[in-house]
Amino acid sequence: MLRISTGQRWFNIVNYAFLIILGLSMILPIVHVLAQSLSSNTAINNGKVFFLPVDFTLSNFKAVVGEKLIWRSFGISVYVTAFGTFINLAMTAMLAYPLSRSEYVYRKPVLILVLLTMIFTAPLIPNFLLVKQLGLTDTLWSLMLPGAISAFNLFVMRSFFMALPVELIDSSRIDGCGEMRILWNIILPLSKPVMATIGIFYAVAHWNSYANALYFINNRQLYPLQVRLREFIITDSSSITAPAEEVLMSSPEGIKMAVVIIATIPIMLVYPFLQKHFTKGMMVGSVKS
């Protein structure tokens, strides 16, 4: 290493300090929310809660756990995320694979068809009317079908398939494999990394989205978790009433924050896996553009 000038040293100190503050500003709000959700009513009202729970209590969580509607919404979100992601991956792979093969002679028109949808997007109302006319409003299909294939993910998956050696396909064909078997037994097992990456992105999008449910679902029984949570936050008066023995300790703020934590936990659980994959996924994507 060459010698470091004083200016350089100062820059490093300031830089590290700035980055540490930045990192803290991303973590501390979440820590604060967690602390709130675990603190008693009086502690929150007196503004004593910062980053550690004060008068530790689980009352807020107990109040949420007793709420049937929250669990119903949680279940709906889990269902839409799991089944929706399955539909996403199946539909995306089914189109990406033929588009990666030179034997599929209509590659170009189909690619243009897809590409144009990235440039021209229809306004909200025609989309809504289509979903309505298909009879999907007030069903969970309306959360899973309209976004079944993301054009961007389609291109990422296609470029992954194209990078697989052609010899694999040729040799298995010589061995007498049909096209479906090639896809199922050769291509898909090799594509686990890209499937995992894209699947996780689709899943996070399903879990986090609330606009579609707001547009397409009126039946409150079918609300996913994010929409339910949005109601609590926007109406500002929590409709959850804590069980009698918890009333003293729990608080509207605490309950709200408990719901926020519950809605975040699944994301936090997949985040380590996510992180392993997304940098790779982003690279593939950026190579294309």
Partner: protein
């Protein structure tokens, strides 16, 4: 069938000499063609039909008469748009937020990536990356919930500090003057870290020899940043900038909708939330489709002219 071995031209593109060969290809690879059908139907049904449906912007769409029975009104809805004071105000909000996005949300990831690039301690860098990518994966509802809680006038974190310093607490969510700052900065909090990924990837592809050579010539780190690093990531910046101006007016429905209330909507409401309330809830279908179409056309014009300018100036472009 010997004929099925279709002639392969050099680029791997299959050329058919006659219809028989084409038919043979379709038959031999029918599995591929069948596989692609659901996807093609998906795009036609869910993307192209609504696109065609946008013609309702030029109609007085009536849900019982449908696209074919509704009366044509030409550009009436577009004219009506610009006579509405509400629309003008909301268009202004949208444009101001768009400019804030371009001015703040866009450059911050670049600066952040450059600062991260100066960090030599691998463990520190990795940990920090893990932390700053994380908010990207939180939903807008969760972020809205956190922000509203922290800014709450009664016992929010920020106001606790303000009151403990002896000032009056501020109702951040209840005033028009704060809403834009809240909207833009919550976006930065969520996506600034995530945005660095693509720049960091571009930075790793710079040849280290360049830095060594310039060090020999006595260039400082600042000088190196200006003369080596920035020019090297300029193409990435240009492309992302063009994509961003293509989405100039798409500030995002979800991120605004969680923060809006009756006290701050005067300055916080944007076209997307307006389309939702007036179009979907109040059922002014044709009028709001006209707004949506207007938005798309502006985006298209911006991206095309941006691309043309950038090609002329830097030689970089999207297409």
């Amino acid at each position: 069938m010997a004929k099925t071995e279709t002639s392969l031209s050099e680029q791997g593109i299959i050329v058919f000499r006659n219809g028989k060969e084409r038919w043979a290809n379709l038959k031999k690879y029918k599995a591929l063609y069948l596989l692609s059908i659901p996807g093609i139907i998906y795009f036609l049904l869910f993307k192209y039909i609504p696109l065609l449906g946008s013609v309702m912007a030029f109609q007085d769409y009536n849900i019982f008469k449908g696209y074919f029975g509704s009366a044509w009104v030409g550009l009436d809805h577009f004219q009506r748009m610009f006579q509405y004071p509400d629309f003008i105000r909301i268009l202004k909000n949208t444009l101001i937020l768009a400019i804030y996005s371009l001015g703040f949300s866009f450059p911050i990831p670049i600066i952040l990536a450059l600062l991260l690039n100066e960090v030599r301690k691998v463990f520190f860098k990795r940990t920090l990356q893990t932390i700053i990518y994380m908010p990207h994966f939180l939903s807008w509802v969760v972020i809205g919930g956190i922000a509203i809680e922290i800014l709450s006038p009664r016992n929010g974190f920020v106001n606790n500090i303000i009151t403990s310093l002896g000032f009056d607490s501020i109702y951040f969510m209840g005033e028009n003057s704060f809403i834009r700052t809240i909207l833009v900065s919550s976006g930065i909090w969520k996506d600034a870290g995530w945005g660095t990924i693509i720049y960091l990837a571009a930075l790793t592809s710079i040849n280290p020899d360049l830095y060594e050579a310039s060090e020999m010539d006595g260039a400082s780190r600042w000088r190196q940043t200006l003369s080596i690093t920035l020019p090297a990531i300029m193409p990435t910046i240009t492309i992302l900038f063009l994509l961003q101006i293509g989405h100039f007016m798409d500030f995002g429905f979800e991120r605004v909708s969680v923060f809006l209330n009756t006290l701050n909507s005067n300055k916080g409401e944007i076209l997307d939330t307006y389309i939702y309330t007036i179009g979907l809830l109040d059922r002014q279908y044709s009028y709001t489709t006209a707004i949506g179409l207007f938005k798309s056309v502006v985006g298209l014009v911006l991206i095309m002219s941006g691309n043309a300018v950038s090609k002329k100036l830097t030689g970089e472009g999207l297409y």
